[in-house]
Every structure is written in C-alpha cells, then in structure tokens.
Point group: C2
Chain length 454, copies 2
C-alpha cells in the first residue's frame, strides 16, 4: 500500500462522511435501550441489514435474551480481524437535560448528538466506513473481517460468554478491535490493555405494605429509606474503603510493567477537574496515585437511590419501600460471582437480611498483553493518523465483557474509535465530533491493511 | 335543648348530607397543594365564598405567603368557639397508586375518595354543616363561631404564628376545635391534649457540575449519593437513637398524668400491624412502651431520598447531586429553631459541611390541659354521639401549629372530626366514610350548643 492509495482512502472517507453519518442517524433513531428492552429485535435486524448494505453477510444468532448480530466478509489474506460492537444503548434519562431528542440524532457545530452516536452505534459505522473505503479504493479487503455485535453490553453482556464459548470457530481471529476507542484531550489515540470487571446490583427493601404518615409511624414503624441508608453505609466508609469482608482478597495489584505504563500516561487531572467541575478528587490524590486509583482500585458507586417523596417542598410520609443501584468495578483477579456472594453474606451478617439483592450485570476483569504485536501495530497506525503516539493504558477504568474474548478466543485486543473525553457517554447530550469519526475510520482501514503482515 | 331538638338537628344533617358532600367535592377539585403552590389563591377565595354561602362573614387576610381565610358569625351567647382549619393539602404523588383522580373526588361504597376530603377540607364542611343545621332547627347559633382557615398547614404553617400574634383579638375564644378529629378502629372519638412539634428539612449535596460514567469516576470522583448516605447515617443509628449532639437535652419526658392517660389508651398495635402490613414494630416494643414511644419520642424520619438513575435495569452513572427530605418530630419543650442549628452544627462537625440544609417547616410541640372544662365538655359530647367514651391522648404523634394558639391565645383545644384510622391522610386514596362526616357534624353542633354553659 503506497501513500497515494492511503491518501485516496482517507479522501474517500472524507467525501462519503455525510452518507456514513446519515446511516448512523438512522440506526440511532431506534431506541435500543437494553435496560428497558426497547426496540431490541428491531435494532438487531436493522443492524444486520446495514451490514448487508455494506457487503457483509449478516445474520442474527439467538441468545437467551437479545440476539447477536454476526457478520463476516472474506479478505485477500487469511488473516482475520474481529470487530466487537454492541447495538444496545444506555437509558437516555434524565430526558430534561438533553438539548435535543436523544433518539432524533442531530448535527450541531460539527458534532452529532444523540443516544448511542458514540456508544456504540458510531463505532459500528466507523468499521463499515473503513470497509467501504477499502473496497472502493483497492477493490477488495486486505483481511477477513468478522463482526460480533451484541445487544446486552449496557446490561452486563449476560449472554455473551456462553455465545462465544459456543461459537469459538465463528469468531477465531488474529486480532480484535474493541467496541470503543478515541482520543484524549490532546488528541492522542488511546489503547486499553484490559478492562475492569463490573458487578451491578439493585438493593431493594420493603418494610410495610403501604406508606404511612410520618407523624403516626415515625417512632414505631420501620422505615425502608432508613434500612437502605444504614445498609449502604456498611458497604463503604468515607475513606473509600469497601467494608465487605474479603472484598480485596483476590485483588492482583498493579505490577512493574503496569507502573511503567501508568507513569507514561499523560495526566488528565486538570482537565477532568474542569470538565466535571470538581474541586478535589477523592482522598485528595494526584499524580501516579491518581492514575493508579483510577483504574486499579475496586469501586463501590451508588449509581441511583430512591424512596418516598422527591417532589418540591415537603411531604410528611414514611416510605415503605426503597431502592438503590450500586455499581462495583472489579480489578484483575476479582470475580463477579464470588463478590456477589460476599455482598449478600455481608448484608445478612450486618442484620440486613431484609435487603433484596438483584444482579443487573457482572463482568470479570480482563488483561491483554500490552506488548503483543497486534496491539503494537494498532498503536502504530494511531500515530500515523493522529500524528501523535498512542497512549497505552494498562487497563481501562471502564468495564466490558473482555474476559470472554480473552478466555475463549485468546485473541489480542486493541482500541480504535471515534470518542473523546467530553463525548458524554452514558450521560445527557452524548455526542461525537464528526472529525473523530473520520479519523477513526481511517485508522480502522490502516489496521485492516496491516493485518496481513502480522 | 331538649332531646327532640337534638334529634331534629341530627335528622337535618342526615337529610342534607348530599349537599354538604357536593360542596366538599367542589372544594376538593381545587388542587391546593401548598408544597407545589398550586391553586392557592383560588382555593382561599373559594373557601371564603363557601363560608359566605353558609351565612358566615368571611374575608382573606394576607400573610407573607398564602392568605388566611377569616370567618366570623355571632351567636346567642357571648361565648365564642374558634375553628382552626386549613385549605391546603398534601401532594397527591405517587399518582399511579390512586384508584381515582385525587382531584376529582368520587363516592364509592359509602366513602368519598380524594386528596383533602379528610385532611382538611372535609373538616371545614363538617363545621359548616353543624352551623347550617343549628340555624335551620333553632333559628340561630348558640355561640359565636370564628374561623381561622390557613393555607400553609401542610408546609409548616410558616405564617401562622405572626398572624395569630397580630390578630389576637380577632381569634379570642373560649374553646378551639382543632382541624382534625375522628374515631379509632373501635369507633371511639379521639381527643389529643397536645401535638408533637416538627422540623422538616431537605438535605442537598452537589459534588460536581455533571454526572459522570461510573467506570471513569468510581474511584476518583466524589459521589453525591455517597456523601448524602454517609451524612444521613450520622443522624440516627439502627437502635433509633438520634445521634445529633444535644438533641435530647430539652426533652420533657412524659409525667404521671401522661402515664395515666397512656395506660387508659386502647391498644392499636394489632390493627396498625394489619393495616400497614408490618411484621414487627421498631425495637420490638409493645404495650405501654409502644404507646409512649409513639407520641413522646423524638423522631428522625427519612421521608424521601433521590439521586442518580432510578429507572428499570442498570445505568452506570455517578451522580453529581443528591437530595433527602428528613422529618424530625419534636416532643414537649424541644424547639425547632434550636434543633435546626444543632443539626447544621452536627453536619459540619462530622465533615459534611458540603450538605446544604433547607428548612421546609417547623413547629414547636404544644400541650393542652387534658382536664380543662372545655376539653371535658368536648369529650362528653363525643360519648353522646358515638355511644362510646372519648379517648384522651396526652398528645398526638402528629404535628401542627398548636403552639401558636396556646402561646398567643391561651385557648383550650380539643378535637371533633370525621377521620378514621384507614383514611389514608397524606397517602394515596385518602378518603372519609360518609357516616363519619355526619357524626362529626352532629358532635360539632353539640359542642356549639354546650359552649354557653362553659
């Protein structure tokens, strides 16, 4: 591949950007919120149809929940690139904070706004744009490409482990592009050699069959909101230490190579502070310890809590039910199923056997060798496109079903994508910059071109 | 007054019940939720117009918030009865639990359902029905009647103390019928020789300018829901002890006369257990201690709490703001303003100076002499109407602005009313039994007849 051809591919992507964005907008109009089971089958079918439009043989593979979209297209070499993506999205709430309809994606000021434009439908289109450009300019594909597009990523990928285990041959590949990627505040492409695990639970408690007047019941009736508050307070103390017995038992701390990678990471502290309007980070950490904590520390986050009256002013009510959503991030070697049992035992031991624990998701943590040739190749293509060396994180602070790919496929994994730090993934006004979309597609095309040389 | 005339009054009330209920329904169609500032002026005007229809000179007296409806009608004796009521109501939320529109009151099965039918608009109509019947049968009123109908009872009666202090002469009276009353599960009329005080606060905390992804911020960003959970956990322990320093300093415990009254109180334990579906009362108390705790114990009730994602399934978000509504009931001698300062100091001392404290209401506790002749007379009329002796509670577990009446007017206070334990005051499907309305009006008429003999 000479520089002229690369330039032609880049130009083709730029020229056809409006078409890719229009396809992305159409896909994002489908409100495929997995947590709310909205439009899931419809979106799976639309995703398969979209793959077919781009010349990829696609079909739906059933799971016990939402189907997986499988796609495959042959290439000129026997090397295969696996693209892992998902067609489900996070809930759009709180709706009142969106400046435009989350499911009517809209371009404003060089950015596309809408739920799923970045996480993760934009990444599906990014892969398709690369394939489209390669075929248009070179007449074919330099490697085979396989798609695994699931519909449960935002709710814990409950079906994925069994699906991959069952279809090992279908997904065998020489490298895998993960579902997300992009640049940091300084436009440096980011690679994550692993992900934290995740255990997401809902705690529910009911203390009576109906709410009572707080003047009647205040000193004699159990109060669900108090039960939940006290139970939560036993999970983590104000020094951020998780108090559940055995929680840290299996933690594998960061090693020497991790530390090298951590030290090489640019600092995002000031920019995160500005973006989120935070006066001080937790425990006042900064520097290397800030970087270490951000990705190597188990977390216990209250993602939501609700009970009783939340409207304006006062209502003198004593609530009979209360709910909290708690998101635990796991570090390497922690196992979600083990920790779920530890959580349940802890609640019982602390006298909170009345608190019901519902699991909404669980991933184990996963690691990839940051020095694998595939990972290095992806990093190199990043440097070409972004004119800056890629930043290699020893693991991501975020979570995903990476463990299933590592365990069943043994495939090396790296990131190429269209995100940037203010994309607002999972938040109101999620968006992508169109320029990032184009660069992500260009890098994806380069990765496909280099697969044959691996 | 002979028995024939009393019988004629009772018959008149029964015969005209549909008219009184129709007037009550009209008043309840106005959604005068003080906490939400809905239809307040309109309801004040409608209440004054209603009084005028029943022959009572009425006008609106301005306050700094919602107007007071003042009404006065002369009687044949120089004795005056003060009727304290309120035209505001509690919020109707959660709306989905109502079986009919809370603001379209509907009669089903001998009961009238709607927000405010009992608390407190039904009590306004109960007084008017008594006046109507007395005038129809006796051609006049045996005593003067003064109305004080405020619009802020459900939000803490913020304007009332100053209003009464300013208009002492307007409200001077020989006895006061409180805004609520009614029977227990065994149809015994209830009298409350006092009320607990109340301090209702909203705790708010904001830790950042926007929500974050819990995978990004979990171990490095402050979390508003955690701040609030930890702060709440410092307020009360699982043994129901309020942990704020000095909270119990001024508590005047129940005395010997209180104990006599407590011992004479019938036990509601089993029926409360059934009505609310409660397995065990707080701390497993029962008997005399149950009765004592229910009304002589300071409380700290979480009436509402909210942060982050509360929808179905999971959302991996780290919330930047959180809110709780906390209702403290005060016992005799505790002062709301003093306790508010103690709460604020406590939060700062515990490291929660970032938690904002907004006050939504505050009453001091109040006591009335349970052996005052007016109170005894009201109790006697209860026995006549209900064929059961009245139950005299040393104080109510609930709260109200009774302190202002005791302090500024020195008036004895008792209860006559239309409620029963399952009325659902402050809850969905609030209702009254029509038979209770009629009996409340009949007892009110008897109280007016006996005023001259006080």
């Amino acid at each position: 591949m000479n520089q002229d051809q690369l330039a032609a591919i880049d130009r083709y992507i730029d020229d056809n950007l409006p078409r890719y964005i229009a396809d992305l907008q159409a896909l994002c109009r489908l409100p495929s919120v997995a947590a709310q089971a909205r439009a899931m089958e419809e979106t799976a079918r639309a995703t398969a149809a979209l793959l077919e439009e781009y010349g990829i043989a696609a079909r739906l593979l059933p799971t016990t929940r939402f189907p997986v979209v499988h796609g495959a297209v042959a290439g000129e070499s026997d090397k295969r690139l696996l693209c892992y993506n998902h067609y489900d999205v996070q809930p759009a709430e709180p709706l009142e904070l969106w400046h435009s309809d989350p499911f009517e994606p809209e371009v404003r000021d060089g950015k596309l706004y809408g739920r799923g434009v970045g996480d993760d439908k934009g990444h599906i289109l990014c892969r398709l744009a690369a394939i489209d450009a390669l075929k248009a300019i070179t007449g074919g594909l330099p490697c085979g490409v396989v798609f695994l597009i699931e519909g449960e990523e935002e709710i814990g990928s409950g079906s994925l482990d069994a699906h991959i285990a069952e279809h090992r041959d279908l997904y065998a590949a020489d490298g895998c592009l993960w579902e997300f990627g992009g640049v940091d505040y300084d436009d440096r492409p980011q690679i994550y050699a692993g992900m934290r695990g995740d255990l997401y639970v809902e705690l529910r408690v009911r203390t009576a069959e109906r709410d009572a007047h707080s003047g009647l019941g205040g000193s004699i009736f159990p109060n669900a909101a108090w039960r939940l508050t006290w139970a939560l307070a036993t999970l983590k103390d104000a020094e951020e230490r998780i108090l559940i017995p055995g929680w840290y038992d299996d933690v594998r701390p960061a090693g020497v190579r991790d530390r090298e990678l951590l030290e090489a990471l640019p600092s995002d502290e000031e920019r995160l502070r500005t973006t989120y309007g935070i006066r001080e980070f937790l425990l006042g950490v900064s520097g290397l310890e800030f970087k270490r904590r951000a990705i190597f520390e188990p977390t216990c986050t209250i993602s939501g809590i609700g009970a009783g009256y939340q409207g304006p002013g006062s209502k003198t009510v004593l609530p009979c039910e209360a709910m909290a959503k708690v998101d635990f991030r796991l570090v390497p070697n922690q196992r979600a199923d083990d920790l779920l049992e530890k959580l349940k035992s802890h609640l019982v031991a602390e006298g909170f056997g009345d608190i019901e624990v519902l699991q909404h998701g669980g991933y184990n943590a996963a690691r990839v060798d940051p020095d694998h040739p595939f990972v290095r190749m992806v990093a190199d293509t990043g440097w070409e496109v972004y004119d800056r060396p890629a930043v290699i994180h020893p693991t991501s602070g975020g979570s995903g079903p990476m463990d299933a790919f590592v365990k069943h496929l043994g495939v090396p994994i790296a990131n190429v994508g269209i995100g940037y730090p203010d994309s607002g993934a999972h938040a109101p006004n999620e968006h992508i910059r169109l320029v990032d979309f184009a660069r992500g597609a260009k890098q994806t095309a380069r990765v496909m071109l280099r697969m044959a040389d691996l």
